[in-house]
C-alpha cells in the first residue's frame, strides 16, 4: 500500500498548512459520486480517526480512510500548472476511465 506526493505537490501542501497555522496533514478520500462513479476529495486533516491509515511522503502526513484506500493505492498526487490555473492532480493506477473534468473516475 502506498500513497505519495511529488516534491512539487508536497511543497504546496506544506505552504498551505503553514498559512493555515493548523492541521496534521492532508486527507485523501474517495466519494461515491460524480459522473464516472467515484470522485476524489482533497482536504486538510485536523484529526485522525480509528479507521484511518497514515502515510508519509516528502515530509507530509497523508491520511486516508480504510474504505477509500483500496481505490487510492498507488496513487501519486502531483501539482501542475495549466496556463493561469494551478492545482493538484491525482495519478491513480486504479482508475480505468477518468471523466473529462478529472474530479471523477471509474475503476
Amino acid at each position: 500500500m502506498s500513497i505519495s506526493l511529488t516534491p512539487k505537490a508536497a511543497a504546496q501542501v506544506r505552504k498551505a498548512l503553514d498559512k493555515r497555522c493548523s492541521g496534521l496533514g492532508l486527507r485523501l478520500a474517495i466519494k461515491t459520486s460524480g459522473c464516472s462513479g467515484y470522485a476524489y476529495a482533497l482536504e486538510f486533516a485536523d484529526a485522525v480517526n480509528d479507521d484511518d491509515v497514515l502515510f508519509e511522503s516528502e515530509g507530509v502526513n497523508i491520511v486516508v480512510d480504510a474504505r477509500s484506500l483500496p481505490l487510492l493505492d498507488g496513487t501519486q498526487l502531483d501539482w501542475t500548472r495549466e496556463g493561469l490555473n494551478e492545482g493538484f492532480r491525482f495519478h491513480n493506477p486504479n482508475a480505468s476511465a477518468t471523466c473529462g473534468c478529472g474530479e471523477s473516475f471509474a475503476v
Partner: protein
C-alpha cells in the same frame, strides 16, 4: 481538466459542484480580483504575473477595446478615447461633475454623465464593465470554470444611484453580483475583524488617485459606518508629481518635451517605491533630445516634499473623527489600504495620530479584494455557516423616506439601519375623491423635501374615490444586501399597487454626505420649527377643504344667512394667512413660531364658528338615519 484544491475538512465539494466565486476591487486607478483557494484568499495574477489591472479603457474608431496597462499607455497620445478614473463618474449626473476632473469629453445620457469616444458614447457603467470583463476572464482562466458570481466593492459613501450603476456594470460584463460590499468593510473582513473583536476601526485608504477615510463600528457582526471623509483628488500619483517637479527643478526646467512626461513619471514612481526600502536613490531620466539627466533623491528630501500631502490626509482623518464624535485614542484598530500606504512616512504619520501601529500585514493593494473574496466564498456556500460563516451586515448611510403634504419628508428607513431591511408605513389620501397618489422617494436627514436628495418619483393610480383619509396606502421600503432600494405602494381596499426600483438619478460625494449630516444637525432646531409650521399649514388646508364641503352640502339648509357669512368670513381669513405664508416662504427662521401662531389662531377662529354647524350636521345626520325607525329597531 480541472485541478483540485485542498478543502477544509468535511467540505470538499462534489464534482462539478465547485462554486467559484471571486471578490473584485473595482478601483478608481487600479482593479483586482481575488478568490479563496485551499482555504486562503489570494489575489489572482494575469499571464504576466501582474495583480493590478489599471482601471483604464481605450476605445478606437474600429470598435477595438483595450483594457489595463496597454490602455494606460494610450493616455498621453489619445487622451480623448482613453477613459481613466471612470469610477469618479459612475452613477452621477453631468451637472454635478467638474469637467476639469477628467481629460476626456463628457456628455449627458439618460440624466447621467457619459463619455464621447471614437467608438460612440460610453457610460461609466460600460467602461466599468470592460474592466470587470477582463477580471472575470482572468478568474475563469485561473480557476478553470465559470464563476457563479462576484462580490464587488464600492466606497462606503456611494449612494443608491452609484451602487445601482456599479451593479449595472457587472450585469453588462455578464458577472452575477452576489452583493456589493463597502470597501472599508471588506478591508476589515480581510483582517478577520468580523469574527470576534468588537470595537471602532479606522480604514485609511490612500489609493493611486483618491484618499478615503472611514470609521467603522463593529458590533455583533454588523459594521456600521460612523463617518467617512476623504479627498477625491489626492493619491499616490500626487507623490510622483512632487518628485517630478523636484527633479525638473534639480536638473533644469528647460528642455523637457511633452514626450518626456510619461518617462519622467515612471522614473518618479520607481524612485518613490525604492525609497520605501532605501535611504537614497539615483533617479535617471532620458530626455527626448538625446540627453540623460539624473539626480540623487534621499528619503529625507522626499519626506519633506510629500509632507503637505500627508498633512492633507491627516486633516481629513481629524474631520472624520470629529464627525464620528470620537477621539483618536478611542479607536481600536487602524487598517492601511492602498499601495501608497507602503511609504514609511505615511505609516509613521498614521501611527502618530492614533498612538498605535496600524495593521499592515495584509498587502494594502490587495486587502479590499481579499476581504471581498472571503465574503464571496461565504455567499457561494463554500464555507459552512458556523461561527466563521456569519454574514456581515452593512448599514444605510442616510435616512430614506417619502414626501408628504406640505413638502415634508416622512422618514421610513432611519439612517444607520442594518441592511438588508424592509420597513412599511401607512399613508392616506388628502382630498376627497383622490384617485392617485404621487410618491416621491427621498434620501437625507432634513425635514424638508427641498433639503433632501430626490431619488425617484412614481405614482399609484386607480385608488377608488373615497373621502379624504379613508384610503389605506401601505408604502414599503426595501433595501437588499447590496444597499439597493426598491419602494412599493399598495392600496388595501382596492388592491392596486405600484413599484419602483431606484434608478440612477444623481449621486452624492463623500463630502456631500457629511455636509448633509452636518447641516441636519446644525439646522435641527429651525427644521423642527419649520416642520411644525408646515404641519399646521396642512391641517389648516384640510380644515378649509372640509368646511367648504360641509357648506356645500348642508350650508343653506342648516345655517342662517348671518351664520353662513360668518363662516365664509373666517375661512377667508384663514386662506389669507395661508397665502401670506406662501409669499413669506424662505424668511428668517425666527419668524417661524410667529407665523405658526397666526395660522393656529386663524384655524381656531374658524373652528369656533363651525362648532355649532358641526353639531347641527351631526343631529341632522342622526335624524335622517333614525327617521321612521321604531326604538326597538335602532341598532345598539
Amino acid at each position: 481538466m480541472a485541478l483540485l484544491q485542498i478543502a477544509e475538512p468535511g467540505q470538499s465539494a462534489a464534482p462539478h459542484r465547485h462554486r467559484l466565486a471571486v471578490g473584485i476591487d473595482l478601483g478608481t486607478t487600479n482593479s483586482l480580483v481575488a478568490t479563496v483557494r485551499s482555504g486562503q484568499a489570494v489575489a489572482l495574477a494575469d499571464d504576466q504575473g501582474r495583480l493590478l489591472l489599471p482601471s483604464v479603457v481605450h476605445y478606437d474608431a474600429s470598435g477595438t477595446v483595450t483594457v489595463g496597462e496597454a490602455a494606460r499607455e494610450r493616455l498621453s497620445d489619445d487622451p480623448l478615447n482613453t477613459i481613466a478614473s471612470a469610477k469618479r463618474l459612475i452613477g452621477r449626473p453631468l451637472a454635478e461633475l467638474d469637467p476639469a476632473l477628467v481629460h476626456y469629453e463628457l456628455v449627458e445620457r439618460h440624466g447621467e454623465a457619459a463619455v464621447r469616444t471614437a467608438a460612440g458614447i460610453k457610460t461609466p457603467s460600460e467602461v466599468g464593465a470592460e474592466v470587470l470583463r477582463v477580471l472575470k476572464a482572468r478568474a475563469e482562466a485561473t480557476l478553470g470554470g465559470e464563476l457563479i458570481g462576484a462580490v464587488v466593492t464600492v466606497p462606503a459613501y456611494f449612494d443608491e444611484a452609484q451602487r445601482q450603476a456599479t451593479k449595472e456594470a457587472a450585469r453588462l460584463a455578464g458577472l452575477p453580483v452576489l452583493r456589493l460590499l463597502n470597501e472599508p468593510t471588506a478591508a476589515a473582513v480581510a483582517y478577520g475583524l468580523d469574527h470576534g473583536s468588537e470595537g471602532v476601526f479606522v480604514v485609511y485608504d490612500l489609493g493611486g488617485g483618491t484618499f478615503d477615510i472611514s470609521i467603522l463600528r463593529l458590533t455583533r457582526g454588523v459594521f456600521e459606518v460612523l463617518a467617512t471623509h476623504g479627498d477625491a483628488m489626492l493619491g499616490g500619483d500626487d507623490f510622483d508629481n512632487v518628485i517630478v517637479d523636484w527633479f525638473k527643478a534639480q536638473t533644469g526646467n528647460a528642455g523637457w518635451s511633452t514626450a518626456d512626461a510619461a518617462r519622467l513619471a515612471r522614473a518618479a514612481r520607481s524612485a518613490k517605491e525604492a525609497l520605501s526600502a532605501r535611504d537614497d536613490v539615483v533617479m535617471q531620466c532620458a530626455v527626448a533630445d538625446g540627453g540623460q539627466r539624473s539626480a540623487v533623491l534621499d528619503r529625507a528630501t522626499f519626506e519633506s516634499l510629500g509632507k503637505p500631502l500627508i498633512d492633507r490626509t491627516l486633516s481629513c482623518v481629524r474631520q472624520a473623527l470629529g464627525d464620528a464624535a470620537l477621539r483618536a485614542d478611542e479607536v481600536d484598530g487602524v487598517i492601511l489600504v492602498g499601495g501608497a500606504t507602503r511609504m514609511p512616512q505615511v505609516k509613521r504619520a498614521v501611527a502618530q495620530v492614533f498612538g498605535r501601529e496600524p495593521l499592515t500585514n495584509v498587502d494594502p493593494d490587495q486587502v479590499v479584494a481579499i476581504g471581498a473574496a472571503i465574503q464571496a466564498d461565504q455567499l457561494a456556500g463554500n464555507r459552512d455557516a458556523g461561527a466563521n460563516g456569519m454574514l456581515l451586515l452593512d448599514v444605510c448611510p442616510l435616512s430614506l423616506g417619502i414626501e408628504t403634504m406640505g413638502g415634508l419628508v416622512e422618514k421610513i428607513i432611519p439612517r444607520n439601519s442594518t441592511i438588508p431591511t424592509a420597513r412599511a408605513q401607512d399613508f392616506t389620501t388628502f382630498k376627497d375623491g383622490q384617485t392617485a397618489i404621487s410618491l416621491h422617494v427621498l434620501q437625507g436627514e432634513r425635514e424638508l423635501v427641498s433639503e433632501c436628495r430626490s431619488l425617484a418619483r412614481f405614482e399609484l393610480r386607480g385608488i377608488p374615490p373615497m373621502v379624504a383619509g379613508a384610503a389605506r396606502i401601505r408604502v414599503t421600503f426595501q433595501i437588499d444586501a447590496d444597499g439597493l432600494l426598491s419602494v412599493s405602494a399598495y392600496e388595501k381596499s382596492s388592491g392596486v399597487q405600484a413599484h419602483i426600483e431606484v434608478k440612477p438619478t444623481h449621486g452624492l460625494g463623500n463630502e456631500q454626505i457629511t455636509d448633509m449630516l452636518r447641516e441636519a444637525i446644525d439646522s435641527a432646531e429651525s427644521d423642527a420649527a419649520l416642520r411644525m409650521l408646515r404641519e399646521a399649514e396642512v391641517d389648516a388646508r384640510r380644515l378649509l377643504d372640509a368646511t367648504e364641503a360641509a357648506l356645500r352640502e348642508d350650508g343653506t339648509e342648516l345655517l342662517s344667512h348671518d351664520e353662513y357669512r360668518a363662516i365664509v368670513q373666517r375661512m377667508q381669513c384663514l386662506a389669507d394667512v395661508l397665502e401670506q405664508l406662501a409669499m413669506d416662504e424662505g424668511q428668517q427662521a425666527d419668524a417661524l413660531p410667529r407665523q405658526r401662531e397666526a395660522l393656529q389662531q386663524a384655524s381656531a377662529a374658524l373652528n369656533q364658528v363651525t362648532t355649532e354647524f358641526a353639531a347641527r350636521r351631526m343631529d341632522a345626520k342622526i335624524r335622517k338615519a333614525l327617521g321612521g325607525m321604531r326604538l326597538d329597531d335602532v341598532p345598539c
